[in-house]
Amino acid sequence: MTSVTTAAESGIKEAVKRFILSSVNIPDLGDDDNLFETGIVNSLFAVQLMTFVEKTFAIEVEMDDLDIENFKSLNATVAFVSRKNGHRVA
């Protein structure tokens, strides 16, 4: 996935990006930067990110949602939240 287009998705992206940047000491975050493989975050952060998206976007991450592809990057997380919320992803 390379782009998200709707206003709702832009809002999701902004919120997720703000949360990640407030938690890790990096100057900026690219849309497709791999959060875990590049070591931007550690495994302890996985549950915090999951909790953040559940709380902020009123969704529940279920067992079938446990897939690193859903949270590997900013864009992946936005796409996941959008799917759970029923938003269209470009």
């Binding site: 949360f19 407030s22 938690s23 890790v24 302890l44 915090q48 067992m63 446990l66």
Partner: protein
């Protein structure tokens, strides 16, 4: 902290304290000496609903909020850290299963856990993997039979394993972490009690060995690959809340025993409490008690509100109360003098139990390392 509680929480805390005064405090030294908690007191915990406090009522639990869960742990911790350990691990297993179990698993296991008909144990720590849980060597391999896994390995320092009827076990299937349930009596499962610990002597710790244990697909919890990153943290979060609040209870025990002794014990025409240096020790205890109460309450509220900060709030609370408990227990023995060094005094037991608090559910040093990284990571907030 009392003024932060609602009327229902206050009433329950009072009920919990009454339970502990009647059923725990008078017997805790005996259990400690005998290194065993009687089945009867565990049955009393169960009948009072104290072994399923956080589970929803639909699964037979009490459905209490996290603050009330913390208050229960604090009250029990005032009486016996070892007994609180039963609630700690029961909650770790139950809450991990509630979050990530299948509906069939929840229907099968949660009601008996909630009612205390069975006791669970959280089998994560290994002889070579304590705080560094990524170093687990307990392993799974595929069986030739219908999707089953074969489990081999050994777990050590497993609280309540001596009385557990089901184990939530963590291991690796090649590179993927896996969690599964192993009921007591499963062929290949062996439980060897660990005796003569310095503290937590009646908490029923054991080494648990798995030799070609067959795990059917119905007993695998969550998705392979996510056991350490998502399933274990749910249990550990409840374990740390429980330990933080239990440590607070121990601290309260030290405080109450010390002020009582200081007010009554005569030295010539004065009391121990008339001595300035003793008052200084008690003052520090009281301040730690107040600070620890706030930290524990904040951790419980954060978990209740399901906010990402709950993790660091809980680490902070556990770090603070466990260290404060060690200081308070040492000072409580000091205030009592020779009588505090004898096993008949609760402060002697507190002194030994307090040190364990600094080690279980993550050591002080590991938590400082994690918290330090989290706090440094938040430096970016200052630049905005």
């Amino acid at each position: 902290m009392q003024h932060f509680l609602n009327d229902r929480q206050k009433a329950r805390f009072s009920e919990f304290r009454d339970f502990v005064s009647l059923n725990v405090q008078p017997f805790a030294e005996k259990w400690d000496r005998e290194q065993k908690i009687p089945d009867a007191v565990v049955s009393k915990l169960a009948k009072s609903g104290y072994l399923g406090p956080s589970l929803p009522t639909e699964y037979g639990g009490q459905g209490w909020d996290v603050v009330t869960f913390g208050l229960l742990n604090e009250a029990l911790g005032r009486g016996s850290s070892s007994l609180t350990g039963v609630l700690t691990v029961q909650s770790m297993v139950s809450m991990a299963l509630l979050r990530w179990g299948t509906e069939d698993q929840k229907r099968k296991w949660l009601p008996p856990l909630a009612r205390g008909e069975i006791i669970g144990a959280f089998a994560l720590t290994e002889p070579g993997a304590g705080s560094a849980i990524q170093s687990l060597v307990t392993g799974f391999r595929q069986s030739s039979k219908n999707g089953s896994l074969i489990l081999n390995g050994s777990k050590r320092w497993i609280t309540c394993a001596q009385r557990a009827e089901v184990f939530l076990v963590f291991g690796k299937l090649e590179q993927d972490s896996v969690a599964c349930l192993v009921p007591k009596g499963t062929p290949g499962l062996q439980v060897e009690p660990i005796h003569d610990l310095m503290g937590f002597r009646s908490a029923g710790l054991a080494q648990v060995t798995f030799s070609n244990v067959e795990v059917p697909p119905a007993n695998i919890v969550g998705k392979p690959g996510f056991a350490l990153s998502h399933i274990a943290p749910v249990g550990l979060q409840y374990g740390r809340i429980s330990t933080a609040c239990s440590g607070l209870g121990l601290l309260r025990g030290c405080f109450e025993e010390s002020i009582s002794y200081a007010a009554e014990r005569k030295i010539a025409a004065r009391t121990v409490g008339d001595i300035g240096m003793i008052r200084s020790l008690i003052a520090r205890m009281g301040i730690d008690l107040e600070a620890g109460s706030f930290l524990c309450h904040n951790a419980c509220r954060s978990e209740q509100d399901h906010v990402p900060e709950a993790f660091e709030k809980t680490l902070s609370a556990k770090h603070f109360t466990s260290r404060a408990a060690v200081r308070a227990a040492s000072d409580a023995v000091q205030i009592r003098g020779a009588s505090g060094c004898h096993e008949s005094s609760p402060v002697s037991r507190y002194y030994r139990d307090a040190k364990i608090m600094e080690i279980i559910e993550g050591t002080t040093q590991v938590h400082e390392d994690i918290l330090g990284k989290i706090f440094v990571g938040q430096a970016s907030k200052l630049r905005r």
